[in-house]
């Protein structure tokens, strides 16, 4: 690919990365435009992109939460302490 076409066209792996980034709102407008252009002629990436967006909406839908790190730390210590006592 020439310099100019590299500037405008993604290959599939660049498209995939850009697609991932846009799931986290971390792709800029220009990158998104390049992604659209790539998707226009790449069926495989269209499929990937649809799947990726579906995953994002599922993740949102699931309302998953992580428990706070300080709690985890506290539990780790509790278990370690109890476990040591049980062992004796």
């Amino acid at each position: 690919m020439g310099k100019k076409s590299k500037f405008l066209f993604f290959d599939c792996s660049q498209a995939a990365t850009c697609c991932d980034k846009s799931q986290y709102e971390e792709a800029n407008l220009f990158q998104k435009a390049k992604l659209m252009l790539h998707l226009a002629f790449c069926k495989t990436c269209r499929k990937f992109s649809a799947r990726n967006s579906r995953l994002t909406s599922l993740l949102k839908e699931s309302k998953l939460e992580k428990c706070p790190e300080e709690k985890k730390k506290q539990w780790r210590e509790e278990i370690k302490k109890e476990f040591a006592e049980e062992g004796n």
Partner: protein, 183 residues
């Protein structure tokens, strides 16, 4: 050798998010959820000798947590004076006062269990078990906590392009797993 063994020192890393999400939809209060999980871990340690290795660690922990959740509702009911609570859970034939100290790991799969299995968030976490532990953690920090890229890179000492490769692999694996188990 039993098919499953217990490794209490890994419980928090492996299951706390799962237990937390399981609890939060049932008690709808973070403080209470945290307390119940803490109690679950301690009860599990106490009854570790009853673990036969027939169910997975997680199934077993969930079975203990379920009883903690039921106890919690019994308690708030009795506080309101609406229900009479029997403190003694066991019949006289068995040793051990508390049910969770008697918990074994073979549980009937009921229709309710099947329904619980299909809860989306838990299905996602189960799928994440299938990938590298550190990668799963990075994916969760990014996707669930919504931590920004730079902060995660600092935390795990990786470059942004490393991060996106990890995220990509995690997402691909997760999508494949969910397609198999969820849809």
């Amino acid at each position: 050798m039993p098919a499953h063994t217990l490794d209490p020192n890994k419980w928090v890393d492996k299951y706390s998010d799962y237990l937390f999400n399981y609890t939060i939809v049932r008690v709808n209060n973070r403080e209470v959820a945290n307390d119940l999980i803490s109690e679950t871990f301690l009860a599990a340690l106490k009854s570790a000798k009853n673990f036969k290795g027939e169910a997975s660690e997680r199934t077993w922990l969930i079975s203990i947590l379920k009883r903690k959740i039921i106890d919690y509702y019994r308690k708030i009911n009795s506080r309101k004076g609406k229900a009479e609570v029997k403190i003694k859970y066991s019949d006289d034939y068995n040793e051990g006062e508390w049910l969770e100290e008697q918990v074994a790991d073979q549980f009937d799969k009921t229709a309710e269990d099947e329904m619980e299995n299909t809860e989306l968030g838990l299905a996602i976490l189960e799928c994440l078990d299938g990938i590298n532990e550190k990668h799963a953690e990075i994916f969760k920090r990014k996707t669930i906590d919504g931590v920004d890229t730079d902060a995660i890179c600092n935390e795990f000492n990786i470059t942004p392009s490393n991060l996106w490769v990890i995220i990509h692999r995690a997402r691909t694996a997760l999508a494949a797993c969910l397609e198999k188990n969820w849809f």
